[in-house]
Amino acid sequence: MSENILQVDELAVEFKTDDGIVKAVDGVSFALDRGETLGIVGESGSGKSVTNLAIMGLIPQPPGRVTAGRALLKGEDLLQMSTRQLTKVRGNRIAMIFQDPMTSLNPFLSIADQLTEVTRIHLKLSYEKSLTRAIEMLERVGIADPGRRVHDYPHQFSGGMRQRVMIAMALLCKPEVLIADEPTTALDVTIQAQILELMHELQETEGTAIILITHDLGVIASVCHRVGVMYAGKFVEKADVDGLYEHPQHPYTLGLMESIARLDEEATARLTPIVGQPPDLAHLPPGCAFRPRCPYAVDRCAAEEPPLADGPHGGQHACFVDVSTAERKEVVDG
């Protein structure tokens, strides 16, 4: 099972903005094995989407630029590939599902057009064969009457159905890696569960490795094997899903968990939000980026940036303080 598929080392991405250079991703590393699901959590702007767009070579350049790092897909560096080489990988060996199914399908082309072109290009299938395959795939993702629906246009499908179509599209070529960028955020809760279940089923049968990007810890807990928590373009904590949920080591992870409602808590328990705003990436404070919002911060946090170090839960975390024993202070917003 532990066959390594994707290895990302020290990835860094910058964007040029009017406000100066923004380091959207700064030294991100992770590995992904066959059949494994890696969850990446973080607030908006934490760099989780940019990391994965960079792997796919989909960072708009300019203003974006990959400044350092490697992304090895079975040993081949995706970041060094030409456009032509990348087009052979995209949609074929690595596929991606996006957040908003309402805008991610082309409204001017029928579902058949949009599905068949993938297999025609990558697998060189004839139109008839690729159409048959598209219909099979639609059936697998739970679209009723796929033989007829395949000729419909996106506006004739609901949001959940469109996300199913997106998943079908992503899985047409049986990719080794599936990157799902907030695949359920735009959907109703009941549909969310169905979509996650569907991805899980397909992973079981195809052995696809999945990177699941989300800001929803509940989603992570239900489907992921390992989790990485991102803050200000860096991983601040990485661990197995059980270790992370039982013993979160980073104050930010802890904050995220305290800010969601739990069924096993008393109804009167108050939610504790994380105080303050996500940092301005163009003007990061020295030391730990989370320090201004951290209830456990000590003097050292302002001077030095904590490195990722092994933690007691078997994973890694980037914090000087042991949250299980440290004193918790009131953080003043602003």
Binding site: T83, S104, L105, N106
Partner: protein, 306 residues
């Protein structure tokens, strides 16, 4: 679709009737008539002429007679000033010429406009984009008779590769069609560039790249249709503009098309010819707008004709 067409044809009939009525009374309201000239006409001959075209009748009777002849018999009548010509004959002679000019101008405007717009948007922010859009802005600002003047100086006098005027061969079409289509090419180029940039920023374009399509295919197959929508809506006004533009261009290049005859008829108060041509232009414009609406539903599957 059938219901849509039936409804639009009904509207067209109504439009033609309104245009007929307004034109009829406007023409009569203008001072002078077909036979008012500096040269004195024999009063008896004048009486005969006027009787021949019902011009001696009271205005409401003239209106009724002309409407009846046009609608009931489908007959646009005789030309008042071009002796021995029916209006239908004048249209039959002029229409192919004007249509050739208009179609070539339109084809030129679309080809050049779309190409320049796509290139500009794909190479956004480069010198090429900047130069193309500068030329386009100038092109929109210059009226076609100025373009025609400059073009004649350049390629007729300084570098004589085109004839100055006339009609007959391919060489006679190119220059007037260029002058007629140039402002529309410029406008279409800007529309396509804006439309393309808008579409290229859409999520579904990112999806297309993520599927592993080459950039050329993404642009031609996934972005083109969306970028063409504004152009399709502009085609209606563009056809109208090319029709009116031909009034000037046919005069400048002495092309014996509809517009040339129209101007002559207006100046000479040739009521029947002017009316026939107004109705022809109305029909053309209405039909083109109908085609544009239909093309819209082909471009965008979300649009339903009703």
């Amino acid at each position: 679709m059938i219901g849509f067409l039936a409804k639009r044809l009904l509207w067209m009939a109504l439009t033609l009737w309104v245009v007929f009525t307004v034109s009829f009374f406007l023409m009569r309201a203008v001072p002078g008539g077909p036979f008012s000239e500096e040269r004195k006409i024999d009063p008896y001959a004048l009486e005969v002429f006027e009787a021949r075209y019902n011009l001696d009748e009271p205005l409401p009777v003239q209106y009724w007679l002309e409407l009846k002849r046009t609608v009931w018999h489908g007959d646009l009548g005789l030309s008042i000033r071009k002796v021995d010509y029916t209006v239908a004959e004048i249209i039959a002679e002029g229409l192919p010429i004007s249509a050739t000019l208009g179609i070539v101008a339109m084809a030129f405007a679309l080809t050049l406009g779309i190409t320049a717009g796509v290139v500009s948007s794909v190479r956004r922010g480069t010198v090429l984009d900047f130069s193309l859009m500068t030329v386009a802005t100038v092109g929109i600002a210059l009226p076609n008779f100025v373009v025609a003047g400059i073009a004649i100086v350049l390629v007729v006098f300084i570098w004589p590769i085109f004839p100055a005027a006339g009609w007959g061969g391919v060489q006679h079409v190119i220059l007037p069609a260029f002058c007629l289509g140039a402002p529309y090419a410029a406008y279409i180029a800007r529309l396509v560039r804006t439309g393309m940039l808008d579409v290229l920023g859409q999520d579904y374009i990112r999806t297309a790249y993520a599927k592993g399509l080459m950039p050329r295919r993404v642009i031609m197959r996934h972005a083109m249709k969306g970028a063409m929508l504004p152009v399709a809506s502009f085609l209606g006004p563009a056809v109208a503009g090319i029709l009116t533009g031909s009034l000037i261009i046919e005069q400048i290049f002495a092309i014996p098309g509809l517009a040339y005859n129209f101007v002559q008829a207006a100046v000479q108060r040739d009521y029947t010819v002017a009316m026939g041509l107004v109705l022809t232009y109305t029909t053309l414009l209405y039909t083109m707008n109908l085609l544009v609406d239909i093309s819209y539903s082909y471009l965008d599957p979300r649009v339903k004709l009703e």
